[in-house]
């Protein structure tokens, strides 16, 4: 082996790679993911000194590809919790934006027609909107049905994004050599 030539930039690249791998290993048992990371860190140290950071990281493949290989060797796929959280967040953000557009549209219509107050319901959420020369505004009353509907929609988005069906016994199991 050649003399150590690891630079600060190499260490940053390795750290960034391992961080992305950690994200890609979502769903793995934490102890297993930590073991993988620790083993890789030591081996990468050697590889970087031997062939340079660029080649060492290239040989591993992208963090996503490497995580997929570890997953394939595990014999069965694991749920992707982070993807589920992102999916639930995006759906929640979409609902919030569409709800805001609906309320602002209602207020705008009232203002255009000379003012007034209207009681509406959007996604089981009752709201009162008013608009006119004296001011604009809206009032929302949270209730159990609307909260339950929101919770169900977010839970479904999370389950689909996280591929929770992978937890079911026998689903996606692959034979190992």
């Amino acid at each position: 082996m050649t003399a150590p030539t690891t630079t600060a930039r190499d260490r940053r690249r390795v750290a960034w790679y391992l961080f992305r791998l950690d994200l890609a290993l979502q769903g793995f048992p934490r102890a297993e993911a930590r073991q993988i990371q620790e083993g890789l860190r030591a081996d990468l140290d050697d590889a970087v000194m031997h062939v340079g950071a660029g080649r060492a990281l290239h040989d591993l493949g992208s963090p996503r590809q490497l995580a997929a290989r570890y997953e394939a060797e595990r014999g069965r796929p694991v749920p992707r919790v982070l993807d589920g959280a992102v999916a639930a967040f995006l759906v929640g953000a979409g609902i919030t934006l569409s709800w805001l557009s609906y309320v602002l549209g209602a207020i705008d219509t009232l203002s255009t027609q000379g003012g007034g107050t209207v009681e509406l319901s959007y996604l089981a959420l009752p709201l009162t909107a008013w608009g006119g020369p004296n001011g604009l505004g809206f009032d929302v009353t949270l209730n159990l049905p609307s909260l339950m509907l929101l919770a169900v929609v977010l839970a479904v988005a999370f389950a689909v994004g996280a591929r929770l069906w992978r937890l079911l016994p026998g689903v996606g199991a692959r034979p190992t050599a």
């Binding site: 297993e32 993988i36 050697d46 590889a47 591993l60 590809q65 490497l66 570890y70």
Partner: protein, 133 residues
């Protein structure tokens, strides 16, 4: 094409390599306890130059999880402690079985591919049954 070139080609074909890689890893570790990166280098030098660390490490992790290899941490002068692997008794047994299976498969493949042993060509079967005398 030489044997080494054939092996080099095999290392570029993931499907071809997938079935034999655990056996090669166990055999290499049987010869000498070593750590992940050195293991990859040894396999590359043995005639698999296209073999990448990204292919070997997951196999190594699986062998460890299945109890076929055991690992111990040893300090390294260059950085974090290295994990040195060697086959367990179960790993040795698995290796014996894998080698026997590989040799049997190799014999079968060789027999099928050998031109002298190839069965004589079958007559054309485009005639309906009973049409021939």
């Amino acid at each position: 094409m030489s044997g080494t070139e054939i092996l080099a080609d095999a290392s570029r074909d993931p499907q071809l390599l997938k079935g034999v890689l655990p056996m090669l890893v166990l055999r290499t570790l049987q010869e000498e306890e070593t750590y992940g990166y050195a293991l990859v280098v040894r396999l590359q030098e043995a005639g698999l130059p296209g073999l990448s660390t990204g292919t070997v490490y997951p196999v190594l992790a699986r062998l460890e999880r299945d109890g076929l290899v055991t690992a111990r941490l040893a300090p390294s002068a260059s950085g974090p402690a290295r994990k040195y692997y060697r086959p367990t008794a179960a790993g040795e047994e698995r290796l014996v079985r894998a080698v026997a299976a590989w040799e049997a498969l190799g014999r079968t493949v060789a027999r099928v591919l050998a031109p002298d042993d190839a069965p004589p060509p079958r007559p054309p079967t485009d005639h309906p049954p009973g049409a021939r005398a």
